[in-house]
């Protein structure tokens, strides 16, 4: 049992739904009509292209290509994570890249090899979508955690330096800001676990059910992916906050706030 095929004609028909948004924007002069059209067009083209790429990827049986694609996806996610921060410090791009590669490969690896036991391990049907979902969430964690940590270091500079002047080590001085950053980075994933199934039906599960999977099976996949996402976000946020801490607090217990620059 599979889903009903959707052709391009049907997609065009579906696009008419956007007329509601455009009509609303024009009627209320929201000035969004142009962005809506561009956004919808971009989304369509990007997804159609990725559909082609995925078809090609799924046909290859070369693990090197699949791993390369996973690395490329992680690099794009790391870059997107930093792009949304309001401040930067030298090395921030590398920090995000290293952390997101490490966290996503570790969690994907453990799940694909140890939990789902995919055979062969590089089967792109599992590896690519699972990896992609982890990256999408890790990116948010990195973005929020970094932003909060840098903001805290800039805004609470006087307080942090007061702690240092009172004999705190760099970690004692930074800890309140670091824990707050970690907490901020993990809030979205905790929230989404809390309401999942009550308020939101997650996209992956819905997709599997549409594709004809047994709902109980789809639910088990969803639960597993949420565990994976939660651990990946924790690793990525914790890792990137730790690296930002090392960049902004010198081993001589100084706050190097001059390293922070506006984005």
């Amino acid at each position: 049992m599979g889903a009903i095929e959707i052709g391009y004609g049907q997609l065009a028909l579906g696009a008419l739904l956007l007329a509601i948004n455009i009509g609303l924007s024009i009627a209320l002069r929201l000035g969004l009509a142009r962005d809506l059209v561009i956004g919808a067009a971009r989304m369509t083209v990007q997804l159609l292209l990725i559909g082609l790429v995925l078809e090609w990827v799924f046909a290859t049986e070369n693990p090197a290509i699949i791993v390369c694609i996973a690395v490329l996806m992680a690099a794009l996610a790391g870059r997107a994570g930093v792009k949304r921060t309001a401040r930067r410090y030298p090395g921030i791009w590398w920090n995000a890249l290293v952390v997101i590669l490490g966290a996503s490969f570790l969690v994907t690896g453990v799940s694909v090899l140890g939990v789902i036991r995919v055979d062969p391990w590089f089967d792109p049907q599992y590896l690519i979508p699972l990896h992609g979902m982890l990256l999408g969430n890790a990116l948010n964690g990195i973005s929020l955690g970094l932003d909060r940590f840098m903001e805290g270091c800039a805004k609470d500079r006087a307080l942090i330096e007061t702690r240092l002047a009172l004999g705190a080590t760099r970690w004692e001085a930074a800890r309140p800001v670091a824990t707050e950053a970690l907490r901020t980075g993990m809030i979205p994933v905790v929230n989404s676990m809390m309401i999942m199934g009550l308020v939101s039906l997650p996209g992956m599960m819905t997709g599997q059910i549409l594709a004809g999977a047994d709902p109980a099976q789809a639910v088990r996949y969803q639960v597993l992916i949420m565990f994976m996402i939660a651990s990946c976000v924790a690793l990525a946020t914790g890792g990137v906050v730790a690296l930002a801490y090392r960049a902004l607090f010198s081993p001589r217990h100084q706050l190097r706030s001059e390293k922070l620059r506006g984005a």
Binding site: D156, A158, L159, E161, T162, R163, L164, A165, L166, G167, A168, T169, E172, P176, R252, H253, Q254, L255
Partner: protein
């Protein structure tokens, strides 16, 4: 051996030297004033002494040991800098005073230490229960002074420490510091103050900084 020695110190902001070839010593029991016009980098000098910033040239030696050889949290519990505008985390004065006692380097004050000081400053127990964000500028300076003194430093670096106090509170703070010095002959204090009167009251000699420091010793 001097408690503190600053040797040929220089500090630059962008391309301009705030002060250069600055040398002085502070010995046990001394009260030293640092004077210089606004923006001459008095605060930067005090910050450099405890290693919050680095000097651009020269060195700071505390108790015979150059700054780079110190584990700075140890140095900072011995040489305590009190900034002009003290910062507090949200919470009560009691919590603000307790927080630094949790640091690895902290030495807790003897029992009754705080109560005695508060009484001398004319502050009741309600002062400890007040939230730091509701304190006046003067009260913040008093809380900062107590917070800095409670763990037994040997050298205090005071940056306009009484600038927000009314005359009575200034007298009280000055006598608190005088008693603190008198308690132990190995203690010393460095003040910056805009008030020439205050400097002449609370210090024995003055170190002048600014571009003049360069020409004086060049």
């Amino acid at each position: 051996m001097p408690l503190l020695a600053v040797r040929d110190a220089g500090r630059r902001v962008s391309d301009r030297w705030l002060w250069r070839r600055l040398s002085f010593e502070v010995r046990e029991g001394e009260r030293v004033g640092v004077s210089g016009p606004s923006g001459s980098g008095k605060s930067l000098l005090l910050r450099a002494i405890i290693g919050l910033d680095d000097l651009d040239e020269g060195e700071v030696i505390v108790a015979g040991k150059p700054l780079r050889e110190w584990h700075l949290p140890d140095l900072r519990s011995r040489v305590r800098y009190i900034p002009q505008t003290p910062a507090f985390a949200d919470g009560t004065v009691r919590e603000a005073l307790a927080a630094p006692l949790g640091y690895a380097t902290a030495v807790p004050p003897p029992a009754g230490w705080l109560a005695e000081r508060l009484e001398r400053l004319g502050r009741g127990a309600d002062f400890l229960g007040a939230r730091t964000e509701t304190l006046s500028g003067g009260e913040r300076q008093i809380a900062a002074l107590l917070r800095a003194m409670q763990t037994g430093p040997q050298l205090l670096l005071l940056d306009e420490a009484t600038a927000s106090l009314d005359p009575d509170a200034t007298d009280a703070a000055e006598s608190l510091l005088a008693d603190w010095l008198a308690e132990d002959a190995s203690r010393a204090v460095v003040w910056t103050s805009h008030s020439r009167d205050q400097r002449s009251r609370v210090t024995d000699r003055e170190v002048e900084i600014g571009p003049a420091a360069e020409t004086a010793s060049a």
